[in-house]
């Protein structure tokens, strides 16, 4: 069912985002000070929790995961790092501005990964894949999963990571969407064994450094990213004139909490967070804990296959039957809470009213997201961001099929079902 364009605009406006430059004269008020102080307390609380985790049974891996999640939550919220927004604005509005933080993140991530991979696996030609890096099998299931995931993004209004950070902004549609993701994982588990035998077990796992070495793989990746950046310039909005005014503390404060972060800052923080995560814990991903929660909840109900064939031998956002929070759980907690803090400080924490139609479309879209993320062994963060950074062909294939899914979703106007 189609809605008038005005509704679409309204729905888009529901994704609150900061003005990109000094947005007029709205003065800093006492309320801003109170909100920012509260936000600072929340962030300090996260840091203290990370310090405690360091000495807890979760150890440094838990602490580092929470810190990485915190950095991501702030960068996602402040830079509006949302794959759905990037794709939709590019397709529907012919505005490619949002793509630049992603391209920067991939360039920073790939450069950092080249350094780390050189330490972890000095000889990329040895016939081994780097430990745990998200280098996945490339076959029709990956393409199908990307398409379905993209469709789910259009229907639910975001990918998994976006729903997590927008939960922090008070976006209530994220709740049914994330519930849908849990259900979708369950459906994914149920269909996994058949799909694994039909299309995953014999699929190749191409990894650029195995052919080109680390230098060659990095050169090719940066080259492709630069080419994309150049091609997308055509539809990039004009730059705002630089303000010739002295840098003052209030301006710095506004730049941090109110103005939208630049592509360079957002992309660098996200890219570095990915490198730090891989170096210290595991490749960045946001679905491992969600998938594990789904698997744990369904284990013993008889609804899941007794054994998920080959799943535990594949690199990706691994799921397991767990009774507790994993490191990935701390990352997700850090992401949501830090995004809340960033939104609160900037006055962008605005709980939205949930409609029945919005909730149902988000739930259904979430199911598609969950199925896609389970079948692709990760989402736009795990497979696309961490995969391309690690020079996996699977990352590029997932990106392309996801974009195609989003395109189809927009053509079918499913994103207007809010």
């Amino acid at each position: 069912m189609s809605a008038p364009p005005a509704v679409g605009r309204t729905a888009r406006a529901a994704a609150p985002h900061a003005p990109s430059a000094p947005s007029g004269p709205r003065p800093w008020t006492r309320a801003d000070t109170v909100r920012t102080t509260l936000a600072a307390v929340v962030v300090v609380g996260l840091l203290v929790l990370a310090a405690w985790l360091h000495t807890s049974p979760w150890g440094p891996r838990g602490g580092v995961s929470l810190l990485v999640g915190t950095a991501l939550g702030i960068a996602f919220e402040r830079g509006r790092f949302c794959f759905w927004c990037i794709f939709r604005e590019g397709i529907e509005d012919r505005n490619t501005r949002g793509a630049y933080p992603l391209l920067v993140a991939l360039a920073v991530g790939a450069t950092g990964y080249a350094l780390v991979l050189g330490l972890f696996l000095p000889d990329p030609h040895a016939g081994r894949l780097p430990p745990e890096a998200h280098v996945g099998p490339v076959g029709w299931p990956l393409v199908l999963a990307g398409l379905v995931f993209g469709l789910g993004m259009a229907l639910s209004g975001g990918c998994v990571s976006a729903h997590l950070y927008r939960l922090g902004q008070g976006h209530t549609r994220a709740v049914p969407a994330l519930l849908g993701v849990l259900l979708g994982f369950g459906v994914g588990f149920a269909t996994w064994n058949a799909i694994y035998l039909a299309g995953v077990s014999h699929a190749p796992t191409p990894w650029l450094p195995a052919w080109l070495g680390y230098g060659g793989a990095l050169a090719v990746t940066l080259g492709v990213l630069a080419l994309l950046a150049a091609l997308l310039l055509r539809h990039a909005p004009p730059l705002r004139a630089r303000e010739h005014a002295p840098m003052t503390l209030p301006k710095v404060r506004d730049a941090i909490v109110r103005w939208r972060w630049s592509a360079g800052v957002t992309g660098t923080v996200v890219g570095l967070a990915g490198v730090f995560a891989y170096l210290r814990v595991e490749p960045l991903g946001v679905t491992s804990q969600l998938g594990s929660a789904s698997r744990t909840a369904l284990a013993g109900t008889g609804l899941l296959p007794e054994r998920l064939t080959g799943l535990d031998t594949l690199a990706g956002c691994a799921t397991a039957v767990v009774q507790t929070l994993t490191e990935n759980g701390w990352l997700v907690i850090g992401l949501v809470v830090a995004s809340f803090a960033a939104a609160l400080a900037g006055g962008r924490f605005r709980p939205t009213r949930l409609t029945a139609r919005g909730a149902s479309s988000a739930l259904l879209g979430g199911v598609l997201l969950g199925w896609g993320a389970m079948t692709a062994l990760g989402c736009t963060v795990g497979v696309l961001l961490s995969g391309i950074s690690a020079f996996a062909v699977s990352g590029w294939v997932f990106a392309a099929s996801c974009l195609a899914g989003v395109w189809a979703g927009i053509r079918l106007r499913v994103h207007r079902l809010t």
Binding site: L119, F120, L121, P122, P131, E132, L279, R280, V281, E282, R307, V321
Partner: protein, 342 residues
């Protein structure tokens, strides 16, 4: 008595009977039969002769090193440090400076045939790790050295005598906040050549069946948890059931491997270890065979009995996943759990 060494068991039987066990101490020089591919598992077809498994180098001070000792010997050219951890990715995110990583699930085993790595590949692995014949090989790993101990057994099996474990394994260095390194080293190529697998150190199914039926004297030490030993479960929680019978080899005693270490993962004192196994009737007066589920954890107990206490102990690496699936062998199943039953 020094261990008799290094002949494929099937060929060695008649020669050993004539020459006498103790006299046979030269390395194998006779080629294998033309149609026999070199394999670690010579002697599968029949039970091995009664070879003494006692190692030449034994005693706590000769086979276990502290983290302090390790820190002092990091620059020693004659010390080769190897990490064998169960969890992938641990080594890469920080290891003892200069330590070489050996992935247990591909490097120490043959990935097609169920067997330890063949001798040529083991030679390659050891030389790449910079190991010479006279190197001191020091292994450590996660999970209280489970798989490091498996590595120590494979090194001993292929004729490297000076093999040691770091007391407490990876966890000891971590809890002490020891220096870790990220870069994987590229050591100068070593000269170690694997001997033929030492038949004295390895038990195969026929030999274990002979022990079970009382036709051979040996003490079987089952190091799994009590619930597995008693046949209440087929495998520990979270681990796939790979055997279709529950229980244990008749006559085996149950001493879970974990009883050999303190809470911090370090080995108990020699006196405590001796008393622990003596209580179960294992005092070194009879040959010992250790086994577990897939063969790796039992190498931890093998290390304690053979290398630390100096007993005549060998490893049955086929363990329960072979024995519990073998047709027609005697089984003791106190709990009576039926496979596939409801």
């Amino acid at each position: 008595m020094p261990r008799s060494t290094s002949r494929p068991a099937a060929l060695a039987v008649p020669i050993l009977l004539v020459a006498g066990l103790a006299a046979c101490s030269s390395p194998a020089t006779e080629p294998l039969a033309d149609d026999a591919a070199p394999s670690a598992a010579q002697g599968v077809a029949e039970a091995a002769p009664a070879l003494d498994a006692r190692s030449e180098v034994t005693g706590f001070e000769n086979v276990v090193v502290s983290t302090d000792w390790l820190a002092e010997h990091l620059d020693d050219d004659k010390v080769a440090v190897i990490e064998v951890s169960v969890d992938p990715g641990l080594y890469e995110r920080g290891h003892v400076p200069g330590a070489v990583n050996v992935p247990w699930h591909t490097a120490f085993v043959d990935t097609v045939t169920r067997d330890v790595v063949p001798p040529e590949r083991f030679t390659e692995l050891a030389q790449e790790a910079g190991i010479d014949k006279d190197s001191t090989v020091v292994l450590y790993g996660d999970s209280n050295n489970w798989f490091a101990a498996w590595g120590a057994w494979v090194f001993t099996l292929y004729g490297h005598d000076d093999v040691r474990l770091v007391d407490g394994g990876r966890g000891a260095g971590e809890s002490e906040g020891r220096e870790l390194e990220l870069a994987a080293p590229t050591p100068a190529r070593g000269t170690f050549e694997a001997a033929q697998a030492d038949p004295a150190l390895r038990a195969f199914l026929p030999e274990v069946v002979e022990v079970a039926t009382g036709d051979r004297e040996a003490t079987l030490v089952d190091i799994r948890g009590a619930a597995e030993f008693n046949g209440e479960i087929f495998a520990p929680e979270g681990v796939q059931e790979l055997s279709i019978r529950a229980g244990h080899v008749p006559g085996a005693v149950n001493v879970p491997w974990v009883e050999a270490v303190d809470e911090d993962g370090k080995f108990k004192s020699v006196e405590e270890l001796r008393a622990l196994y003596a209580e179960a009737g294992v005092d070194g007066s009879a040959p010992i065979i250790t086994y577990c589920r897939i063969g790796e954890r039992a190498s931890h107990t093998w290390f304690v009995l053979n290398k630390i206490l100096g007993y005549d102990a060998k490893l049955y690496d086929g363990s329960w996943t072979e024995y519990g699936n073998a047709v027609g062998v005697p089984v003791t199943n106190p709990a009576g759990t039926v496979w596939g039953g409801v």
